[in-house]
């Protein structure tokens, strides 16, 4: 953990791209989607900020933010219950009425919060791209290249058939952004913007004020795409694991990627812990006939059956004689005895009674709603 950096303000868009995974965001924001056994998606950007020494963080919400408020509380679990800086929840508020439409619109609405900060730089992040990153390296590059805006990107495979609405960057020989494509119909290796950027507060103020007067709201289209000659927009390559949560299928696969040791090493780095709300659960208890293979399991579970290739969240109960394969079982799910289950996603507190057979394919996993009963 680096020392505190009061010169940077972190801003997290908790609701950006909620609609991509509408199954999971009926009653929550993108940021509060459970992920990886014990986390919510917002834990990754929040921990990235905290681990980079950024202790002043604003979370911009939109709708459905009850579960997000419950998760974040005072920010204490991220060490962000601070007198200087700390965590600030910024609920939707629009001067023009209605809910904001894009990043610029949202920033206009919360500008007084940004203005109040003493930080010179602002880092923006979404919640729908999961990665672990140290922003200090990005900031150093941003300053040494005297960039106006530095976009964080990764070079990786992309397939518009399977992914959703990515922003693809092309650079000139000086690593300056040459072109910006939004949701192109392509497949193959390309430079994907991770929807994280650094900008000075002064420039952001100018851009936001200008946007408000012109009634434009999309940062990606209006600033990155249409104005990329006006500003010095540079790229910072993040050469590490990331995954997009851009539809329910990819959400399912992203969880399963955690069963791979390399993924866990990339996301859960030594010295860069991912913080989350403390659950005060007992350790997980395995029964006399339990059989667990290749699975990630959180605290507070009681498992008496067989679990393979699955991610099991906190406080899940799996009965005797039950076999769970290739599934993502969220917090508090209770699965009875003698069930046979493969490729399902159960949302929080779902219940599956004794003897049920639910066999689906990894291509189309079944999703069971929060509190759903089968």
């Amino acid at each position: 953990m680096s020392s505190v950096n009061y010169n940077v303000l972190g801003l997290i868009f908790a609701s950006m791209h909620d609609s991509y995974v509408s199954e999971l965001t009926k009653k929550r924001t993108m940021g509060s989607i459970p992920f990886g056994g014990r986390y919510r998606l917002i834990d990754f950007p929040l921990s990235n900020f905290v681990n980079s020494g950024v202790t002043e963080v604003g979370v911009i919400t939109k709708a459905n933010y009850g579960s997000l408020l419950d998760h974040l509380g005072s920010g204490r679990d991220w060490d962000l219950a601070r007198k200087k800086g700390g965590l600030h929840l910024l609920p939707p508020y629009s001067q023009t009425g209605g809910i904001y439409k894009g990043r610029l619109d949202a920033l206009g609405n919360i500008w007084s919060f940004v203005e109040h900060s003493k930080a010179q730089y602002v880092i923006l992040s979404n919640c729908d791209i999961v990665t672990t990153i140290d922003f200090n390296d990005v900031l150093r590059q941003h300053m040494s290249t005297e960039a106006d805006i530095t976009l964080i990107y990764s070079k990786a495979l992309y397939d518009s058939e399977k992914n959703n609405n990515a922003t693809i960057l092309d650079f000139d020989e000086d690593n300056r952004v040459k072109s910006v494509l939004v949701d192109p119909k392509i497949s193959g290796e390309c430079n994907q913007w991770l929807e994280m950027l650094i900008i000075s507060k002064d420039l952001l103020r100018t851009i936001v004020a200008d946007a408000v007067s012109k009634n434009i709201y999309s940062f990606t289209r209006e600033i990155l795409q249409n104005n990329n000659n006006e500003y010095k927009i540079m790229g910072y390559e993040h050469k590490d694991f990331f995954v997009r949560i851009d539809n329910i299928q990819n959400y399912y696969l992203a969880n399963k990627m955690l069963l791979c040791e390399d993924t866990r090493k990339a996301l859960f780095k030594k010295g860069l812990p991912i913080y989350t709300k403390v659950g005060d659960n007992a350790p997980t208890k395995y029964g006399l006939e339990s059989n667990i293979k290749n699975s990630l399991i959180a605290d507070g579970c009681v498992i008496e059956g067989t679990v393979e290739n699955s991610v099991i969240f906190r406080g899940v109960k799996i009965g005797k004689g039950t076999v769970v394969k290739d599934s993502v079982i969220m917090q508090g799910t209770v699965i009875g005895n003698d069930c046979t289950i493969s490729s399902i996603i159960t949302d929080k507190n779902a219940e599956i009674s004794d003897g049920k057979v639910l066999k689906f394919s990894e291509t189309y996993p079944l999703h069971i709603d929060k509190n759903g009963k089968i």
Binding site: G36, L259, P283, K285, L288, S290, N291, I297, D299
Partner: protein, 408 residues
Amino acid sequence: MYTKKKVVAMLLAGGQGSRLYALTKNVAKPAVPYGGKYRLIDFPLSNCTNSGIDTVGVLTQYQPLVLNEYIGNGEPWDLDKMNGGVHVLPPYESQAGASWYEGTANAIYQNMNFIRRYNPEYVVVLGGDHIYKMDYSKMVDFHIKNNADCTISVIDVPLAEASRFGIMICDENNKVMDFVEKPKEPKSTLASMGIYVFSWDKLEKYLIENENDANAKRDRGEAWSKDFGKDIITSMLRDNQRLFAYEFEGYWKDVGTLDSLWEANMDLLSPSVPLDLYDKNWKIYSRSSYMPPQYMGSNAQVENSMIAEGSVVDGSVDFSILFAGVTVEEGATVNYSIVMPNTVIKSGAVVEYAIVGSDCVIEGGTHIGKSPEQVENRDDWGIAVVGHNVTVSSDKSVEPKQIISENI
């Protein structure tokens, strides 16, 4: 300004726990790990919070560093309060000079000013080395109902074991008639659990008297002591004060020895033991370690065990408790054992009937402990113990009853 509190709890956490040997070399006994993610002190602290007692003084003395850091501001137990909360009370120096705590009664005596600030009606005195879930507020109600001066929590123990405890002899109304410490021929099976409720005015009076008496004896070169059971309770009985025994029913385990620590952990794996750590209405809180969920590998064989976050298991684990961040490699075996945080059991190692401390490395080819069946003479059998931060190198073994605290 301090708000008056009805009840203040004083937790005696200075114990060395000398019979836990290697496990308490650098930590006080209440900080000894238990049950996969807890330390012993989590039980009394969580019981206080769940009983509505929000003001707790923790008296520390022996090796306080880990314990102090662990308690911190008390936030994990909800004891970070504007008024009250948890306060660590180490021995201190005053104008009259500095002195260590000279017994359990003296420890409270030296901190009477802490208690006086809250002007309580009742003081609950607790130990830091027992595993149990108890609603102290019910005991306080019992104390009030009996118009008692002191109430002592007791548990019915088998007659054969009674001589290990402080035994209360009571009348039919649970009024304590006599108290005998470790009697050879016990006249009752009601054992003191070391949990007391005192009316504060009475406790204050007897603490001062005991202090003056003991100091006078010391000046005269006589034997003296400043202990709760031996001195305060005995004096109160002598003066015909109203002492009552509060019978506790439920799981209670003293973890004073390595064998009892091992047993208390194994109890968690027994379906017949009534200590439910999964009860949402009486959670046992602890300081969290911020580790990812546990990962069970493709070669893992895990049965009848409790495993905490951050552990990675690719070997065989049966009837065992693994704390946070433990690694059991493919081809390693852990049976009937307790493995404390961040320890690595390497491929080819066998750990059975053992307690392995935190941050150890058990290399391949080692054998720690044996099952009772593998030992010819049953008296030679006992738990094998590896202390904290120890490396056991290849082909070494640790025999039953053996305790190691240095690398071998």
